[in-house]
Symmetry: C2
Subunit: 198 residues, 2 copies
Amino acid sequence: MSVAVINYDQPMRWEPDSRGRLEQAAISLYGERGFENTTVAEIASRAGLTERTFFRHFADKREVLFAGGLLLQELIVSEVSGAPDSLPPVDAVAVGLEAAGAAIQERGDYPRQRQRMIAASAELQERELIKLAALAARLAEALRERGVDDPAASLTAEVGIAVFRIAVERWNEEDEPGDLPQLIRDSLDQLRAVTAGR
Amino acid sequence: MSVAVINYDQPMRWEPDSRGRLEQAAISLYGERGFENTTVAEIASRAGLTERTFFRHFADKREVLFAGGLLLQELIVSEVSGAPDSLPPVDAVAVGLEAAGAAIQERGDYPRQRQRMIAASAELQERELIKLAALAARLAEALRERGVDDPAASLTAEVGIAVFRIAVERWNEEDEPGDLPQLIRDSLDQLRAVTAGR
């Protein structure tokens, strides 16, 4: 018979999804007592982690809300880069955005809590705009690496991010959150209809 | 024989294009000595106007760079609202954006100097993003007033502003500035090709 032994004199190195736990703890505390009135120590404590662990993942308490965006960006770019060469640029972008949509959907209530928080603060909205502009720029680069020329690359990327943002906003506003990747596909279809003048 | 008499004891109330003169003076001074090192008094003096006149047009020296955007917004919205009912939403937006393009083009070197200035400062880029997001929101509203439902209204507006921004950026980067309204039309055609998967 073997027994699992935890040595409490050693710091625990195995912290399953510590990033996700910190994000969830932060968003809950921001909602309960406001962003300004929440400290990093409180976030770490609520997540059952140390401040040191917090700072391994995030530069400050504002970044908790935006660091996930960088992971989404990496996911989108890697999907776009890996999409079959035969796919037209807009469809390669769609592959990336749908993958991001699926990842967001897996986060449960977190994305809606985050969205509500951002909608309530001009400063956070600004930061979100900047992150989305950076995402569009990185996406355009990924398209250029696929051999798409400018301005088509920038245009496709910018328009893709606009579609993505509108789809995520709609999804966040739904009473019963639906299927986000499907909503992204629908928005792209709508974009096609719109630009065709229908 | 009649002689025009100017009473120099009275402040001059007629200041032809004082707003444009202040903008041009500001952008020249920002270029020469930097944004931080330029005062409102210097801008007014360079434009041959008073500080009081400056503050009748602009809240502060940063706003000089963005107040013109509000006039463009009014122009775009009024063109979109006045476009024939029979025009599909994307074409109504095109009418507004082309009018804005024509107005920008009339400003000579100013738009390029402004663009260069903004490109060099993260803070100014953030402000530009916020202003463009507000413009997209206002444009979506103008489309809803034309009877366009959401999400088509938001989608058309967001995508229209993305096209507009890319066209203006390209125009600013050209060695010999070309025809901006034409460039906007070309970008919209490119968008149609892109979304059609070509």
